[in-house]
């Protein structure tokens, strides 16, 4: 049975699971996505125990909302959106006073006043250890939006749906996140991104 199940596409697995309630279908979904979800949780939460708890909660959420999944969308996009939102919630709970999540264009953040255009190429070709340090130095909501765009290859529309924002707000947020990454890079490594 295992071999034939492996060939099923994600949306076919979901359909089978919803029809039969056979947990082996859900187990296969877990095996397909657990590694990615876990590594995302670690990179966001920076703690293995918290990341494991988060994975458990995320798959429970997935199980409870599987019937709402839009078959036209990619399952990976949906799972990653749940993962990022869950991690942001967790971080928020830990640092309620520091983090402000929202795209508020009128946010009095000094970067918003003078957003420098940072070319994608600069970010996409950065050395891995430097990229990791830069991503850890910017606020989690900015990190999430950059990961969604450049790591998961999500479209602006998909990011907007995942974060419940408008497309223009997402575009602005990406621009600002890139500017913050640039600022963090300069602060950490001294030289300018070119």
């Amino acid at each position: 049975m295992g071999g034939s199940l492996d060939k099923l596409k994600d949306h076919e697995l979901i359909e089978k699971f919803l029809q039969t309630q056979d947990t082996s279908y859900f187990n296969l979904l877990y095996r397909r996505y657990a590694a990615k979800v876990y590594s995302k949780c670690i990179s966001m939460l920076k703690d293995e125990a918290r990341a494991q708890d988060a994975v458990q909660d995320i798959f429970a959420k997935l199980f409870l909302n599987l019937h709402k999944f839009n078959k036209k969308a990619r399952l990976s996009t949906w799972i990653y959106a749940i993962t990022y939102n869950h991690c942001i919630d967790q971080i928020r709970r830990h640092h309620k006073d520091i983090i402000q999540f929202g795209d508020n264009v009128e946010d009095p953040d000094p970067i918003a006043e003078d957003v420098q255009e940072v070319h994608d190429k600069v970010l996409l070709e950065m050395e891995l250890d430097r990229l990791e340090a830069v991503l850890d130095a910017i606020p989690p909501d900015d990190k999430v939006i950059l990961l969604m765009k450049y790591q998961d290859g999500m479209q602006i529309k998909e990011i907007a749906e995942a974060l419940d924002k408008t497309e223009s707000a997402v575009k602005m947020k990406i621009k600002r996140a890139k500017a913050k990454a640039h600022k963090a890079y300069v602060k950490l490594f001294g030289d300018f991104l070119r």
Binding site: F26, A34, S39, K40, Q56, M126
Partner: protein, 89 residues
Amino acid sequence: MPQNSFKRLAEEKEKEYVPPPELEQRVMAQIYLLQIMGKAVELYMPQLVQMLFQMMGHSVHHIGEMFSQKEPIHPPSRSKRTAKKNKSK
């Protein structure tokens, strides 16, 4: 085509942090539990609602009657209210 740094970073992290096998057991145990709870609610909810209504002194037929009220209660229309005002003046 070489992958971008973000994707390479994700790959490295995936190799570095593999989910422990006991996590799969934890997740699947929770899924079984949620499934059982869902089935229990599905099975016993109607009886529970019936029991609650009976405790309140209603019969099950009462529930149907409550939802099939012929005339919904609406606030008086504006014209009626203004007519009342004029009358009082």
